[in-house]
Symmetry: D3
Subunit: 330 residues, 6 copies
Amino acid sequence: MLRLMSADGHRLFQNDLLEATFGGGEANVAVSLANYGEDVAFVTALPQNEIGQAAINSMRSFGVDTSNILRLGDRVGIYFAEKGQSQRPSKVIYDRKLSSIATVDSHAFHWDEILDGAEWFHFTGITPALSDALKDSVRSACIAAKEKNICISCDLNYRKKLWSTQEAYRTMSELMQYVDVCIANEEDAEKVLGIKAHNSDVTNGVLSREGYQQVAKEIGQRYGCKAVAITLRTSISASDNNWAAMLYKDGNYYFSPSYHIHIWDRVGGGDSFGAGLIYGLYHQMPAQEVVDFATAASCLKHTIQGDFNRVSVEEVMLLMNGDGSGRVQR
Amino acid sequence: MLRLMSADGHRLFQNDLLEATFGGGEANVAVSLANYGEDVAFVTALPQNEIGQAAINSMRSFGVDTSNILRLGDRVGIYFAEKGQSQRPSKVIYDRKLSSIATVDSHAFHWDEILDGAEWFHFTGITPALSDALKDSVRSACIAAKEKNICISCDLNYRKKLWSTQEAYRTMSELMQYVDVCIANEEDAEKVLGIKAHNSDVTNGVLSREGYQQVAKEIGQRYGCKAVAITLRTSISASDNNWAAMLYKDGNYYFSPSYHIHIWDRVGGGDSFGAGLIYGLYHQMPAQEVVDFATAASCLKHTIQGDFNRVSVEEVMLLMNGDGSGRVQR
Amino acid sequence: MLRLMSADGHRLFQNDLLEATFGGGEANVAVSLANYGEDVAFVTALPQNEIGQAAINSMRSFGVDTSNILRLGDRVGIYFAEKGQSQRPSKVIYDRKLSSIATVDSHAFHWDEILDGAEWFHFTGITPALSDALKDSVRSACIAAKEKNICISCDLNYRKKLWSTQEAYRTMSELMQYVDVCIANEEDAEKVLGIKAHNSDVTNGVLSREGYQQVAKEIGQRYGCKAVAITLRTSISASDNNWAAMLYKDGNYYFSPSYHIHIWDRVGGGDSFGAGLIYGLYHQMPAQEVVDFATAASCLKHTIQGDFNRVSVEEVMLLMNGDGSGRVQR
Amino acid sequence: MLRLMSADGHRLFQNDLLEATFGGGEANVAVSLANYGEDVAFVTALPQNEIGQAAINSMRSFGVDTSNILRLGDRVGIYFAEKGQSQRPSKVIYDRKLSSIATVDSHAFHWDEILDGAEWFHFTGITPALSDALKDSVRSACIAAKEKNICISCDLNYRKKLWSTQEAYRTMSELMQYVDVCIANEEDAEKVLGIKAHNSDVTNGVLSREGYQQVAKEIGQRYGCKAVAITLRTSISASDNNWAAMLYKDGNYYFSPSYHIHIWDRVGGGDSFGAGLIYGLYHQMPAQEVVDFATAASCLKHTIQGDFNRVSVEEVMLLMNGDGSGRVQR
Amino acid sequence: MLRLMSADGHRLFQNDLLEATFGGGEANVAVSLANYGEDVAFVTALPQNEIGQAAINSMRSFGVDTSNILRLGDRVGIYFAEKGQSQRPSKVIYDRKLSSIATVDSHAFHWDEILDGAEWFHFTGITPALSDALKDSVRSACIAAKEKNICISCDLNYRKKLWSTQEAYRTMSELMQYVDVCIANEEDAEKVLGIKAHNSDVTNGVLSREGYQQVAKEIGQRYGCKAVAITLRTSISASDNNWAAMLYKDGNYYFSPSYHIHIWDRVGGGDSFGAGLIYGLYHQMPAQEVVDFATAASCLKHTIQGDFNRVSVEEVMLLMNGDGSGRVQR
Amino acid sequence: MLRLMSADGHRLFQNDLLEATFGGGEANVAVSLANYGEDVAFVTALPQNEIGQAAINSMRSFGVDTSNILRLGDRVGIYFAEKGQSQRPSKVIYDRKLSSIATVDSHAFHWDEILDGAEWFHFTGITPALSDALKDSVRSACIAAKEKNICISCDLNYRKKLWSTQEAYRTMSELMQYVDVCIANEEDAEKVLGIKAHNSDVTNGVLSREGYQQVAKEIGQRYGCKAVAITLRTSISASDNNWAAMLYKDGNYYFSPSYHIHIWDRVGGGDSFGAGLIYGLYHQMPAQEVVDFATAASCLKHTIQGDFNRVSVEEVMLLMNGDGSGRVQR
């Protein structure tokens, strides 16, 4: 998607500048992994015009393989973003109807070819929410991946403006059967899968470790996931959040440390966690390291402008190994 | 429309800044006239969100009455713009499907009320091109205006991406019956009304005075217009244009002087001419002054960033009366 | 006033950019109320040049009625502003001598006409401090308002560079007789009216609830105000403030919750409180809601660049009803 | 003066950025000469605040001696500037009433000390136009300079908003008796000294060589100047000017070549000519070289943003010696 | 190289912003060809730090294959650039000593592997000028290319700050034996190969068609090139150039049309010509089309900021086929 | 050095803008002292090009005497900087090989003349680390200063990328014999002089008052310093630090208050402390005031963009005397 953010911390249209970058759930994960040195391909549809090309160029600059992107349709989906500050929340206004990806037909992507040679397939709950054709296409992708023994990860990523909880439940319940690694926050689990963390009230920042354990376990058991990760955000204000995560794997619960983050740009935080998790699991890090790496990675994302997590493995490792002091690196 | 232009003379997406302003055919005319001190109302539909509000605020800042604007629908139409330079043409990419105005129904505007007390009604050929409902609505507006004895002006403004010449002809031929003042360029007249200037080849910059006279006369006679104005642009390059106009009125032809313009921003040039023409006719200037005022006004527009012509009557008069020397005004 | 703020968090003139916007006590209140959907007119004097026009355009963009603004005099008052950070305080340098408003004569404004049909009249202590003519004019306005049964509110807003405490006392004591709703901070009450909060030391951040109650009560009783509101700021640093307020009405004291604000731009905070208070009182909210609305509104102002509080009633309500978590609004 | 120019080629207040730099007649000459490696001191009065300090810092950065600048008064004079383009003229709006320099008393500057050791004294007609005290002070400076045998140059620089032609004539006629080197354009000579170039019509761009010769000769003879220089501008548009000059010295006339300039920023063009002339005369270049150097210097100024001519002697020499081809200097 | 250009048309360090992009002879050619849809790899050495990575990302965004770039050494070469205007020439200040590429040893690149499967090898005279090791390495590349029957093109690109004409002659004379396609301007031919166009004086803009024919023929005959292209620039000023080219092929001379260009950014103009030439020859266009395509491509480059020619084949074709009118593309 | 910082809080090269300013250890101290009204000269070597000149202009703007700066060599050293945020540390990438100062020979500076009339000589440990010639030159400077009875201060400022601890120890141990006032942080003392604070672990933020006392005392005794100052930084994150200092003088220990700083730009913090210390000692403030002044000064530096501490004595005094509340200064 084309992300148009008001510049200079202004409210949208307070002055006449918009910062134009690109982003979106799966794209953010792809860029993160490319920054970690992985071979990643991003699959979507973009129009045959300068805006579609700019989206591709943006992904390519990080080394993401864009050769599977279809060039068709009329427009790139847009979202307008405004950074929050203190008690004023960040704001996102979607303008993505009729986007190329939302108008592809269900056979547009030849998953058998696309996934040839792949070792991991990642999708988010946003994609099937965009159209019925995409529901079908994601299902096809999952089936193709399963046949090829490709590990499948899914970030539930519930968006209330795209579909109802009922529709989300119906679709995602089915897709979850293919998913090996599930990523969720407490809201997703409840809204999409109907699994609620006990004693949790997000707005008030009351988060219960036990609740999360129970949610993760239930997801894991119900859908047969090998790993379930849940991010734990406590919003103190738009400027200050606590951020941690839990990984449920092989019957055990692994909690990351909690970071008190002074936020620069919070959008894409969840995606950067997903990418860190995939990186850790793919490289077979011990479970504790996996959740630590993913959490440190996404902690850093909150300090970076734009959807993309512009950090290296070394930078994540530095933080993960305990240096959050922010001393100058010379 | 929301106009997103690449900043700093860059190509689109060359850097990450877009200049976000508002504009569009009739809006540009409204702002011009408000800048001349006229009471103007702009009628359209805009969504009930921050982007729609910003469009309204932009118009209000010039004193345009926005109280008749409907707040409904999903999105503000967008166009991406890139300034040309020398042999590189300016580029405009439209993204206006599903805009609020394109999705209104044919009875959305209550023209009888809206036009109550008005003395002039202006529309462009872009509006009926957007939807069948708008074709109906514009017709209703014309009928209501005629009943109230309101002067009607129309800028043909053919846009090939919106409709075919056939569809344009069918619609505009009918609407032209209500039009008192017609504004066109040589391309519009040919594409919309099928009236071609003899011996004119726009791309090659060959423009014939006689051809224009013939076109204007034919429009006037065929549709019974009181006045027909034709703009005469010679594109030397994206940076340099010659610009003049002709007014056909009461059987006579009035040619403005021709300006050699070093262009800053060419979009909205035609609209600024239309506004100047309306101003002159409304204030019953002599015909030669009318075309001189309109041409000087639009000459100045080419030197101003954005769709809107940010000039006063005094500034237009200064140029119209012969001072194009550009000496510093202290 | 024209507000020229150093860009990018720089000290003044550290680089060569100034952010030029408009603002000032009463203007800020007017814009806030217009943003809440109220019909508001702003009355001042501005020169007949591009700068005066830009000030008007800025107000008009929010829908403020500017038709009563006089166009005369030589200049728009200017203030240079520099944002503070941590231990470095914000800085304001005034350059407003000879401004149009400071040079009007005492009969420039025809209050009887201007206030015709109005329901509320608001002024601040800054205006009578600018000239003797304005002292007279504000008095005339109060008298005219009283005759028309218009509610009068006044924000004391003491500015030590404009007048001495003695001169302020003399003028404001008289004007306060007309005032129905008084807005003050602890410093104003002491400096302007000679009423000191016991046990309060602003610089050290020691604020006493009892002291404020006593101050409000004394103002209310001495001048017969229907309502007295006092803002309670605790400056931890230029970046962090606690912000709350108290409303004294019908013999009772209503305290808002206290917000810990991470500040973006603090100038205009008091004015945004005044506007929120007027909104609440005008719409006859219960007293507790009034002070809660006003405090939440001004809390949000601290997160927004510029003098104006660019928020809607909905956004204030959201915060007032308890969601200060800053979670992204999608 | 503080110069506030609209950024990005916009009209004033079209967006919210102003480019804040410093400039003004004599300051511009001082900076030019400092850039040529001369020891120069600039004498003025500036307020004891951040704005006055910034003005000093700006001059100091070029190596101008600012130790004689008085720190007193209330404000720095301001001018708002807007760049012209094509047929739209540049615009300058002065806001310099009550500036520190305009409010000094006639004995504020101790010229005897200030001029101690100096070899050249330059002033413009703007300074005595600001106040009666400055008329006296400039006269005192001239007398002190004459006693010390210091060469005196004056740029007539008529500003119609500051004084009438009558007042200018009265004052400058007297001051001209001390002047060794007079700099003027055709308008100055006529407006200030009542000496009109025959057959010259500035707005129409008709310039007569003979007329200029006659004007220079008459100035030289009437006031006993050793050298009289007249700049010859032909404004084709705000973007394109022809620029040349003539020097009358020792009874001979020396014409520079004429440059066709594509203008970037025209303000300060005359001052840069004055500085080039002083440089040439002070270094006793042959008369033809003097006018060639001064004209080339000021030609380059038109290509540079801001009042100051940021060029070196080498750069002027390169152009003066005939390379105006603009080939890249690597 | 890292290109640091003063922003906003300012002189270097006039304000505190530098526009940081990447460029350089061969890189520019690579990006142009990638923009035309060709598979291109760029070979160089860059340090293992954020700056080297940014250079790679910049190339990757256009789809250039960067997998052969060595990551070693200490720094990225830098050049500071300042745009000229009218009589003020553009300025380039090199700071490229100790750059990674300048410090590689002669065996750093394994040309046999790198060129495997390639069809074209392009280099410029800048590379062997950087070090003796690079002289050796380029020779090795040419030998390897010849063995693989790869077409070799060379842009002479003489840089006087890098080597003397003697050293250039010695090196390039040898390398030219391998070259199939030679690109030069009149200065290169003379300075590098000692072949002077008769009757040509570049600074004065006197260019002789016959002289160019003779130079091209002599190059072709002396070194056995299949094609020799010479660009013909007439610098009217830094803002206005005439630009054309001649191709000598199979004993015939093909002249492109001449473009009068209003320049936006002239750096990289020659490289964009080279890329256009390679594109045309590689796709076996007729010789006249080859030179027309290359000239139109580089004409467009002059209108684009930065070293890279951000145009598509379609855009070049549009201009090449005669539409230089700059009319808006909607 | 030329400091190139990514703009807008971005990571380096995230967008195409770099903020170009100047700075560096001794330069920062010089500017601070000039801002306090002291006569300061800065001694270095800079190339004879626009970049060297810009460095000089930058220093001159603050009133620093630059007449002793040598103009020779090839380049200005560069450092790229990226601001940290929260858990993401600030990053500095040096590119200073071959800088003019690093390539001067050991007799380039004539210290006897340069120090003539001086009362204080300050250097940092960075300078001798750059080359052997500079080791010699600094020693010569110290000897010359000692002979002239000039007070010598040294900020140890260890940079691990410039030299090993062994080389630093060898050089600095000798130079320290001349030093009257030593400035260090806990890391410097250990790395350069081999003196370790007991019980201190910087990364973990554990700082022991006793440890610092012991370190300072040992430095003082070993090298005969009259005063030893140690800064005490606790990095909570890149955004939040605690900052304090201790002065050891005449056998006593003076601790400043500790500031909790919300950081804007941390680079140059140590230098601003050094300048404050020199100011206090030079003006013979009581020891407690000296350390309080220096700490308050450097606290403010952390709130200011760029290497230079742009504050006045009055501003430091205001904070030092207890007003860190950040209330607006009107």
